[in-house]
Symmetry: C2
Subunit: 148 residues, 2 copies
């Protein structure tokens, strides 16, 4: 990992591995692509209304309702009434969604072990990177979603 091309390749393969694992996990739970997408949005941004979720996923209202139906039936989210506006509904992700959590657990354990191998100072570096990369990816994603 000396030349920039090596670094780029390593990073691209790392991203591919992350994506493939996510897809494989979703498939193992019989979750469609959009369902996984929505769950990631909820993981990242917390509870929100169907309207907002529809906007973020790029779906119209009809499919959004059924997306939420699927997630609710599978036990990943819950519909709660909004306290301040009775037209609204709040989609709350459920803390530890059994099936998906179970499927992703082995990878989490493996990554936990890897991270645990580093010194506290090195872990600081890693988590600093995680936080900053999260923001960078969020910003880039917003820019991708705006244009259309």
């Amino acid at each position: 990992m000396s030349t920039p091309e090596d670094a780029s390749k390593i990073y691209r393969q790392y991203l591919s591995a992350v994506m493939l694992h996510g897809h494989a996990g979703a498939k193992a739970c019989h979750l469609g692509a959009t369902d996984l997408y929505a769950l990631n949005i909820l993981e990242l941004s917390g509870a929100m209304t169907p309207g907002e979720l529809g906007t973020r996923t790029g779906l119209t209202t009809g499919p959004t309702t059924r997306l939420i139906d699927r997630l609710e039936a599978a036990g990943y989210v819950r519909r709660a009434p909004s306290p301040d506006d009775r037209r609204k509904v709040i989609i709350e992700p459920i803390d530890r969604p059994g099936r998906l959590d179970e499927v992703l657990a082995p990878a989490r354990r493996a990554i936990g072990a890897i991270i645990g191998d580093y010194s506290p100072e090195e872990r600081e570096v890693l988590f600093d990177y995680f936080v900053r990369a999260t923001r960078a990816y969020q910003d880039s994603t917003e820019n991708l979603n705006e244009p259309p």
Copy 2:
């Protein structure tokens, strides 16, 4: 990032941000979920036959052929004849697929800038992690795909 729960949450959000960005990029290129999945497989494992790609994606032969048709039409892969077996075809990813690369470029630049901010020693830690995490995710993905 002091308690383990914080660390776990940071990491989960990081993963979600990565996944969301991948999905958004694919959507911006009008790529379906399976298409993105297949491209990630090719990125990670290099050229392979339709049969192997079908196995890896979990598709039967019919849909696999059309998956490759879509990717080829969009300019992401190329069909090459196999030199040793004339029944076989080799699906080669195209080095720099224009559209997708262009869409992902802003994020790559942002991440490159973040990584460039660290000291060489810190970068060593990051890339060591990337390499090890890649293997861990690959292994976990294989285990997820085997059972069924």
